[in-house]
Amino acid sequence: MADQYRIAQPKDYYRQFLEKDVRPDNRGLGEYRATVMNIGCVSTAEGSSLVKIGNTTVMCGIKAEVAEPGVDGKNGYLVPNVELSPLCSANFRPGPPGELAQVLSQNMADLIADSQCVKLENLCVCPGKLVWVLHIDLVCLDYDGNLMDACTLAMMSALKSTSLPVVTVDEESGEIKTDPSSRTLLPVSCCPVSTTLIVFDNKLLLVDPTSEEESLATGAVTVVTEGKNVCSIYKPGGTPLTDKQIRDCIERGFIRGKEARSLIEETLCSVDR
C-alpha cells in the first residue's frame, strides 16, 4: 500500500514523514547518507578515486599528458569532464553530453578556478615549451541525486592522490625524457568541499537529496567551503530563501566541509604509495 501511495502522491507521502522530522530513508533532515571513498582504484591513471554517497557512485580518473603552453608560456591546463551515460540512469540518453553534464563540468572547472586548489603555474614542466594537461574524467556509475557533492569529493580526492612522473627536457636537442620510476605528488593547496541542500514545499531544507527528492524539490543551494572561507554559493533560481535559511545552509556547509576533509585525509593515509 505504501508503495502505491509513494508513486501516486509522492509529495503527500514525503509530507507525512517530514512532519515528524524524518525522511523515508530514515535520515533526519540535515543528515548525510553514508559516504564511502576509495582512492587509487585505477592503476593506469595518475590519480583516481571512487566515491559513493548513498547509492550515488562517481568514479574519477586523472590522466596527464604534456602539451605546448599557450601564449603566457607557463600555465598548464585542467580539463574536467563529467560523463552521464545511460548506464547510470534512465534519464540520460546516449550521444553528446546533455545540459546537466555540461553544467556539472563547468561547475567543476569553476570550483578549481575559484578555490585555486591547483595552481596552473605548478603544472609547468619547462617554461615556454612544455606544460602538463590534466584530464579529469568523472564518470557517474549510479545516479541517485546529489551528483555535485559526489563529483567534487571524487575530484578533490583524486587530485590529492595524483602523482606525476618526472619529465626533463634536454636543452640542446629538445628531447623529452620521462623517468617513470620517480614520481612527484601534485601540489594541492586546499580542499574545497561542496554541500547541497534542496528546498521542499518552499520552506523545508533537506541536506543531500536523493534523486526522488530532487525531482520534488522547488529549489536547490550548493555551498562550497574551504577552511574558513566560502568558495562558492550557487543557487540557480527556485524558491526565494530568507537570509536565515541561507545562513543555515552556509553553516551546514562548514560542518560537512570538516567531515569530508577528514574523510579524505584518513583515506589518503590508509593508501600505501
Binding site: 555540461q102 575559484d114 572561507n229 554559493i233 540557480p236 533560481g237
Partner: protein, 230 residues
C-alpha cells in the same frame, strides 16, 4: 514604436560627486525595440548591454510538452562564437530563475521562450541579462508571481565591496557575487559567485545589493509606466 528612456539621470550626476562604490551605473532601457516579438527590450547598465526577447505563450515541441504547466525555454547567445559550457551554465541559472518567477500553471502545454543576446559585456553581464529578461517578460505581459532584480557586487583584495562592478573591477577583484532578489519580500532567488570570500564580506555584499535592488525595481516600474502612458 521604440522609445528611448533614460532614467536615473540625476543619479548619474550624483555619482560623480558621491563615493562611486555604492551606486549602480546608469540604467537605460528601450522597450519594444523589435517588432515581431511578443516582448523585447534592450537594457544597458552603464556600458554593459544586452538584448532580451520573449515569445509566448506559444506552441511547444511535443517532446518538451508538460501537461500541467508551460515549458520555459531560455537561449543565451554570446557576442562571438558558439555557446560554450559557461554559457550553458548561465542558461540553466536563468532558466530556473524564470521557471520560479513565471506562473507556468496558467498555460499548460505551451512554451514561453526567452532569448538573450549579449551585445556588450563590460562587467556584471549576468545581472544585466537577468534584468533584461525580466523587463522583456513584463513587456510581453507574461504572468509572473514576482519580478526579479539582479545586482552584482565585487570584493576587492582588501575586502572592499563594490556595487555593480565594471569589467576592470571584476578582473582585479578577489571575488564577485551576483544576487537576484524577488520584488515581494526582497528574498534571495538566486546567488552565483566566483572566487573566495568570507561570510562577513558576503553579508556586506548582500545588504548593499538588496538596497540597490529596490532602485532596479523602481526602474522597472518607471520604464513600464512610461511605455503605457505614452
Amino acid at each position: 514604436m521604440a522609445s528611448f528612456i533614460v532614467v536615473k539621470k540625476e543619479d548619474l550626476e550624483k555619482k560623480q560627486n558621491v563615493e562611486p562604490c555604492h551606486t549602480l551605473r546608469c540604467l537605460t532601457s528601450e522597450l519594444g525595440c523589435l517588432t515581431r516579438q511578443d516582448g523585447s527590450v534592450s537594457l544597458s547598465q552603464g556600458d554593459t548591454t544586452s538584448l532580451a526577447v520573449v515569445y509566448g505563450p506559444a506552441e511547444v515541441r511535443i517532446s518538451r510538452e508538460l501537461i500541467d504547466r508551460a515549458t520555459v525555454e531560455l537561449v543565451y547567445k554570446p557576442k562571438v562564437g558558439l555557446p560554450r559550457p559557461a554559457d550553458r551554465k548561465r542558461e540553466q541559472i536563468m532558466k530556473s530563475i524564470f521557471e520560479a518567477t513565471i506562473i507556468t500553471n496558467l498555460h499548460p502545454r505551451s512554451s514561453i521562450t526567452i532569448i538573450l543576446q549579449e551585445t556588450e559585456d563590460l562587467g556584471s553581464n549576468l545581472a544585466c541579462c537577468i534584468n533584461a529578461a525580466c523587463l522583456a517578460l513584463l513587456d510581453a505581459a507574461v504572468n509572473m508571481s514576482f519580478m526579479v532584480a539582479a545586482v552584482a557586487v565585487s570584493v576587492a583584495d582588501e575586502g572592499q565591496i563594490k556595487l555593480d562592478p565594471s569589467k576592470n573591477d571584476e578582473e582585479k577583484g578577489r571575488a564577485s557575487i551576483t544576487f537576484v532578489f524577488d520584488s515581494v519580500d526582497l528574498n534571495v532567488v538566486s546567488i552565483v559567485t566566483s572566487g573566495k570570500f568570507s561570510q562577513i564580506e558576503y553579508k556586506a555584499g548582500l545588504e548593499l545589493a538588496r538596497e540597490a535592488s529596490q532602485k532596479v525595481f523602481q526602474f522597472f516600474k518607471d520604464s513600464m509606466s512610461r511605455k503605457l502612458i505614452r
